[in-house]
Amino acid sequence: MVKTADIVIVGGGISGVSIGYFLLKYGAKNVVIIERDFLASGATGRCGAGIRQQWGSPLNCIMSKFSCEFFETAVDELGFDGDIEFHQGGYMMLVTTEKELAQTKKNVALQNSLGIGTKLITPSEAKALAGPLNTEGLLAATFHDRDGHLNPFTTTRAFADAFVRLGGKVYTNTSITGIRTSNGKITGVDTNRGSIATNTVVNAAGGYVQNIADMVGIELPLYSKRHNILVTEPVERVLGPMLMSFSLNFYCQQTPHGSFLMGRTCPDQPRDLRITADSRFPVAMAKTIVKVLPQLKNLRMLRQWAGLYNMSPDNHPIYDQVPGLEGFYLSAGYSGHGFMMSPATGQSMAELILGLPATLPWGQLGFSRFTEGNTIHEPSVV
């Protein structure tokens, strides 16, 4: 294990490996990723991995457009020898209430103005794009054909392989046991395999960021909560686009492997770090999905699991240096969208840490927005 590093990234999920990759791409040296378990073992490996550019705030539109375009060429950019399984079958958002329709029209106008080619479509157009869809009760839908979903495991590997090729070091099965500070500055980290002297630590520990912040006595304005997902047995493809609806409370995709993967927001989820399966979820999810995709009643659920959403007060991430501790950076609070935003996360954090000109509006995502009343409103969050 190295004794010193310029930058230590805590967490080998999609955000950590993306930050690591972009740091090296923009000229940083001696960057280390410390992962407690194995790559993508936390929320990344448990997420739905949907990719969409259909948002209601300009910030999210810009960040997600950057990310989606990155993923389109990621295999080449990262020089990956595998497949990240980017299925660009489009993302279809179903609208079932008048209020939702009004907001959706505003969102589409915003998206179009920012170069995102979302279309507002009729129920019959939606049916033509998603054969198994039950359009009963559907007022309209939006569709953007460049959205889709990815394989979170291989995408993480793609970043990690590039990071290592550029000289980065990844230490898996390695836990941070302490963070050393001196005079309000980071001086190093301790791990179960030794200590590393460094002046910069990036806390990208996903659901566990507070555990890391606890080591330096800092309370973050974030909390983690459980989110449930289930997956079915695989069948030949019948569903092209990824489906989602705020009013119906679900998202669902058919992966390239053939399985259907779906989730919904469940109330009363624990806000601790429990990621055990929820006994209530399968029935609730099944009731929802067989209404939207009636054919799925003849498909079998294979497995369910849960992961952590790291939530922020305004459902937007924090990309910032933690006030009061120089060299301690935070990239967290993605509120369920960390995977799809991960290229923007990497780009933003690299620019922030290396002091580069901002090409993305990460300046709006600092801690000060909470104290100065500049929180960001996103009307389109599950």
Binding site: D81, G82, D83, E85, P132, T154, E233, P234, V235, E236, R237, V238, P256, H257, G258, Q295, L296, N298, L299, R300
Partner: protein, 136 residues
């Protein structure tokens, strides 16, 4: 619609490109077919068969007895291949016969992935060889 054949494995080159050979499901052995295969004289056991029913397998009429699983009835009728495996399209028969594995999954009455080693036959069932992952 075809599923990407390589998607199951990400870093290893396929060991050998398996051609899409669908082994003939009607590949029966005359010596292993029909009621000859149903044991009549056994030193220990007396087999009480249920009532005779029939179902179709890939369009061919097969007779069976209630209380038999689909896989058992097909076996007695001389059929050994129940499915083509999901990626390599190799012929598959049952393996565990008690629902522990996935070797015997077939299309039954239009539903794919039915474990036929534990699913009992019913009169008029439509049973088909499962090719690959099956369809919804």
């Amino acid at each position: 619609m075809a599923i990407d054949e390589k998607s199951h494995i990400l870093f290893t080159k396929p060991l050998h490109q398996t051609p899409m050979i669908y082994y003939h499901s009607t590949n029966t052995d005359i010596n292993l077919k029909g009621d000859y295969m149903r044991i009549s004289a056994h030193p220990i056991l007396d087999f009480e068969r249920g009532t005779q029913v029939s179902f179709t397998f890939d369009g061919v009429q097969v007779s069976a007895y209630t209380g038999e699983t689909i896989a058992a009835a097909l076996y007695a009728a001389g059929y050994r291949t129940l499915a083509n495996s999901p990626v390599r399209h190799r012929p598959r028969g049952f393996f565990c016969a008690i629902g522990n594995c996935s070797s015997c999954m077939m299309v039954v009455n239009g539903n794919a992935n039915v474990k036929t080693c534990i699913e009992l036959v019913q009169d008029g069932m439509i049973v088909e060889t499962q090719r690959g992952k099956g369809t919804l």
